[in-house]
């Protein structure tokens, strides 16, 4: 039986230096509940240290948490890498760390990178700079994540930086992904004329939330279970699975 899952698949925690201190498991889940979300993904920059705490914190809440990360490729393109299980995600973390320059974080510039527990209490501070480019090309990332059973969604493609369209000009024809993420500011009436190529794509809206109020509840997945395989079918619109996005009415925008 298919069920509706209102989802935001791009949420940062305090592991991302640029995220606010409020981005801890209990508060993220409280906000998710307020927004009616039943599926969220934790996607910190090149790191997944807080996914386990988030998943534990979500137990019994009715909110399903996918482990993931927002990876920065060699081309400085941001890519959501999503998995079903923590071990898959941690295995990907090892590959990422082998390709991430070994630099120390400068907290006054990039912000502190906190690892927290299920209640949001501080466990340790990650000293390695996570907000950098990994030495992996776009296609290499997609192949690597697929080989572990995960899924890649290019992030905020309508942004002027760190995005597939800004950095690489257009979506490479052979790119093996099923959907593209746009920001909550994307409006079809103006977005499609600006990037005609997007009309051929399944688009989803996530919050890319660095603070609680940035979380979004605009993308609904009609799927049998909150797993990568089902989400993949929904993005392709196969076997009755589908994605429904609520777009802002451009006429009401100032």
């Amino acid at each position: 039986m298919l069920r509706p899952f209102l989802a935001d698949l791009h949420i940062h925690t305090v592991l991302s230096g640029c995220a606010e201190v409020e981005m801890i498991p209990p508060l993220i889940l409280k906000q998710a509940k307020r927004l009616g979300l039943s599926l969220i993904a934790v996607t910190d920059h090149n790191g997944c240290h807080n996914v386990e705490a988030m998943i534990q914190a979500a137990q019994g809440t009715g909110i399903h948490v996918l482990p993931g990360m927002e990876l920065q490729s060699r081309e400085e393109v941001h890519l959501l890498c999503l998995f079903d299980t923590v071990p898959q995600c941690q295995q990907w973390q090892e590959t990422v760390f082998a390709k991430l320059p070994s630099l120390n974080n400068k907290e006054d510039i990039f912000g502190a990178q906190f690892v927290v527990d299920v209640t949001g209490e501080w466990v340790r501070t990650e000293e390695r700079l996570l907000a950098a480019s990994t030495d992996m090309g776009l296609e290499e990332v997609v192949a690597g994540v697929h080989s572990l059973g995960g899924m890649v969604i290019p992030a905020h493609v309508d942004r002027p930086s760190f995005s597939l369209l800004a950095n690489l000009g257009f979506v490479p024809e052979s790119l093996d992904v099923q959907a593209l993420e746009v920001t909550s500011r994307f409006v079809p009436a103006t977005g499609y004329p600006q990037w005609p190529q997007l009309e051929a794509w399944c688009l989803i809206v996530n919050g890319d939330a660095h603070r609680l109020q940035e979380m979004q509840n605009r993308t609904l997945y009609k799927i049998a279970a909150p797993v990568i395989e089902e989400i993949d079918l929904a993005l392709k619109g196969e076997q009755g699975r589908k994605v429904i996005v609520e777009w802002p009415d451009s006429r009401q925008r100032s």
Binding site: L138, A166, N167, L168, G169, F170, P172
Partner: protein, 114 residues
């Protein structure tokens, strides 16, 4: 008018695709690592300097009819990118040097930007 062949010799940069097509005039120069900007800023017969080596670089160069693309900082296009460049007649050149130093030398050879 300076030709690509002369630039290749003077800057000691290495052609890695379409090496038989160096007899092309260079109308100007452009540098950026954002391909969305290069699609607007790099014009016909321009030489584009970038550290990006993705397959899309070939498409942009072919689309705009560029004289060539200098890929800097030791980045090397993969086999698929090279073969596409070859079939599209796009000249890719590589150098270990930075975009800054390559652009400086191009300017001193008389290659101008907009």
């Amino acid at each position: 008018m300076i030709f690509l062949k002369e630039v290749v010799e003077k800057l000691k940069i290495e052609p890695v695709s379409s090496a038989s097509s160096l007899d092309r005039p260079i109308a100007g120069g452009y540098a950026s690592d954002l391909l969305s900007c290069a699609m607007k800023g790099a014009k016909k017969d321009y030489l584009w300097v970038t550290l990006q080596s993705h397959l899309n670089v070939v498409a942009v160069a072919s689309l705009s009819g560029l004289a060539g693309v200098i890929i800097t900082e030791g980045n090397r296009p993969d086999a698929e990118t090279l073969s596409r460049a070859e079939s599209e007649g796009v000249v890719l050149l590589v150098t270990p040097r930075t975009t800054f130093s390559i652009v400086g030398e191009l300017a001193s050879l008389g290659v101008r930007g907009d």
